[in-house]
């Protein structure tokens, strides 16, 4: 059994006959017409995002997939204001409508109560609520001890914490990522092993208890066991620590197994955002975008070729159940 049952959207819970989970949606992410060009107006100009409109509900375990260079990282960097919307920058001039054409649509992005299109938004307060783990996060380690490094973000965001409070928070964060607090706190982060270093770096982000945690390929470059452990860590975090998780990933099995919904990016455009159950029915389309499909989807297709059609939700568990069901029917 999957120890971490999917956290469906409230509606889905109700549909499955469970009591609906009552949530007050406060940290919803709403992007509308998000467009971003790197180095505009130069020969290096790259349109990395093209009119992306997407809503991520609070409580989701949201996946983002897409071919390399499709704009995934650019999108997630918007979520905590590392990339600013044009209208939130100094010297911004509203584009004028040309004669006889409708006024150009302004991109907008809201994360909870924060309006990222507004210049007056408190971006530091936003970053406290939206934690971001970059690809190869161990590259951000710098302090002399793991303790200092993990405490760095906390001290930045909350200036007047007492020493005990800091210690308690750092201890909790290091422990939830699976490090032995007493053993690592006085060790240099550079003396840790690769996997431990990544955990320490993640602890340094989640130490402020962000409500939304964004991770850009958190399992990149790890061995299969390391990957599995990171995914387990993410489930732990989703259960007890951060309400919403947004994860960029190239691993379709991971997406199929864990996500409530996944968005597909291609050349800066949003192709679709669907629950894995529906998404991986479109295998052909995904393959044509240069993406992989989960093993379960491949197996379903292979079975379908042999004349056995199994409808499943593309988790390993769901697949096994569906296959056993199909077999039972035949008997």
């Amino acid at each position: 059994m999957n120890p971490f049952p999917l956290r469906g959207l409230p509606l889905k819970g109700a549909a499955r006959g469970r009591p609906p989970i009552i949530t007050i949606k406060t940290m919803q992410i709403t992007a509308e017409h998000l467009t971003y060009v790197y180095n505009p107006g130069s020969p290096f100009a790259v349109k990395a995002l093209d009119d992306v409109s997407l809503t991520i509900e609070e409580g989701e375990f949201f996946g983002i997939i897409g071919h390399t260079g499709s704009g995934k990282s650019t999108f997630v960097k918007h979520l905590n204001g590392l990339i600013r919307l044009p209208s939130s920058q100094k010297h911004y001039k509203k584009p004028k409508a040309k004669k006889g054409q409708p006024a150009p649509v302004e991109p907008s992005l809201k994360v909870g109560e924060f309006d990222l299109a507004d210049r007056k938004t408190d971006f530091r307060a936003l970053r406290k609520k939206v934690g971001m783990v970059f690809q190869y996060p161990e590259a951000q380690l710098f302090a002399e001890t793991v303790f200092d490094d993990v405490a760095f973000g906390l001290k930045n965001f909350e200036k007047d914490l007492k020493a005990e409070e800091i210690e308690a928070a750092v201890k909790a964060a290091t422990e939830i990522v699976g490090l032995d607090y007493a053993a690592v706190k006085d060790v240099s982060p550079f003396d840790l092993s690769g996997g431990q270093r990544r955990r320490a770096a993640i602890a340094g982000v989640i130490v402020t208890k962000p409500e939304i945690l964004v991770l850009d390929e958190p399992a990149a470059g790890l061995d299969p066991l390391g990957k599995k452990e990171i995914m387990e860590l993410l489930h732990r975090l989703h259960r007890d620590w951060c309400r919403t998780i947004v994860i960029v990933s190239h691993d379709m099995d991971e997406i199929a197994e864990n996500c409530t919904r996944a968005a597909v990016f291609s050349e800066g455009k949003l192709v679709c955002a669907l629950p894995p159950k529906e998404l991986f029915l479109k295998s052909e389309e995904l393959l044509s975008l240069g993406l992989d499909i989960p093993l379960t989807a491949k197996l379903c297709a292979a079975l379908a070729k042999r004349g056995v059609s199994v409808g499943c939700d593309f988790t390993v568990d769901g697949f096994v159940r569906a296959v056993l069901g199909a077999k039972g029917e035949k008997r």
Binding site: S42, R124, F134, Q140, F152, N156
Partner: protein, 277 residues
């Protein structure tokens, strides 16, 4: 890469881009010599004309070119002010009083104004022409050209090839390290680091979380690069052939004639017209 504009290659195809890099380096030297030989405004005008032609045939937008000048704006204003204020010479260049204003050791004189105008023009021409070299020549071509020009030094056992390699690696690393800096800055900003706030000490302190990872990664990169080169049997300069052989073409001839005309013209103006007119 935040600002790819200063002193960096501008990737378009143009007449100037395709001139041989060796010649471009020599032309830059010739141009600098011409600027300093030029001792009247006609000669400076000729230098400016060559610069304008270079820009026009380089397809580099004028906006970009001005940005290079903006980088030295402070220097220009500062030297101009110093030269105006401290020049006490009473030479007269046009009708009117030789000294406009005087206070203790400071004065504004005709000579001061002429001198500093001269200096400003020289500086601006110099910087703009040099940046045209880097705008229109890839770093690789630049080091290739330099290596080729320095070949004579090999006779005195100077390691020209190693020097050129170091230069091209350094140039190659700049954008990579800039990207890396950006990435680490983003990561620390996401952890609430305040990068551009507060007084000087605060700012320097805020650099530490960026600098340490950056240094570490630079060392790691250097190591990896060394290993990669060794594993491909890199052995240094001896008997290495070039992927791109440099060859002179008609473009080089035209460019050469232009620069030669400039230097000759400046020398003639110097001899027959004289200083400051």
């Amino acid at each position: 890469m935040k600002d790819v504009s200063f002193g960096q290659y501008y990737p378009v195809s143009s007449f100037v881009h395709r001139v041989d890099p060796r010649l471009k380096i020599l032309f830059l030297i010739a141009y600098i010599v011409a600027i300093f030989l030029a001792n009247n405004f006609y000669a400076l005008g000729a230098c400016a004309l060559v610069l304008v032609l270079t820009i026009a045939f380089s397809h580099v937008p004028v906006r970009k070119v001005f940005r290079a000048v903006r980088g030295i704006l402070f220097l220009v204003v500062f030297t101009a002010a110093i030269n105006v204020l401290f020049n006490a010479s009473e030479e007269v260049y046009w009708a009117g009083p030789a000294v406009y204003w005087k206070w203790k050791i400071f004065s504004v004189t005709q000579a001061g104004i002429v001198f500093s105008a001269f200096l400003v023009i020289r500086l601006v021409l110099l910087v703009t022409f040099s940046s045209m070299l880097t705008y229109t020549t890839t770093p690789v071509a630049l080091t290739d050209g330099l290596e080729s020009l320095l070949t004579p030094l090999k006779w005195i056992r100077f390691p020209v090839h190693a020097l050129a390699l170091i230069m091209s690696l350094a140039l190659r690393m700049i954008p990579i390290l800039m990207d890396e800096t950006e990435r680490i800055r983003d990561a620390q900003k996401a952890r609430g680091a305040a990068m551009d706030e507060g007084n000087l000490i605060k700012r320097v302190k805020a650099m530490i979380p960026v600098l340490i990872p950056l240094l570490l990664s630079a060392f790691r990169r250097a190591d990896e690069l060394g290993e990669a080169m060794e594993s491909r049997c890199y052995m240094g300069g001896k008997k290495r052939t070039k992927y791109k052989k440099l060859r002179f073409t008609w473009r080089d001839l035209i460019a050469f004639l232009l620069i030669a005309a400039l230097v000759t013209g400046v020398v003639l103006l110097r001899v027959y017209v004289g200083a400051f007119l």
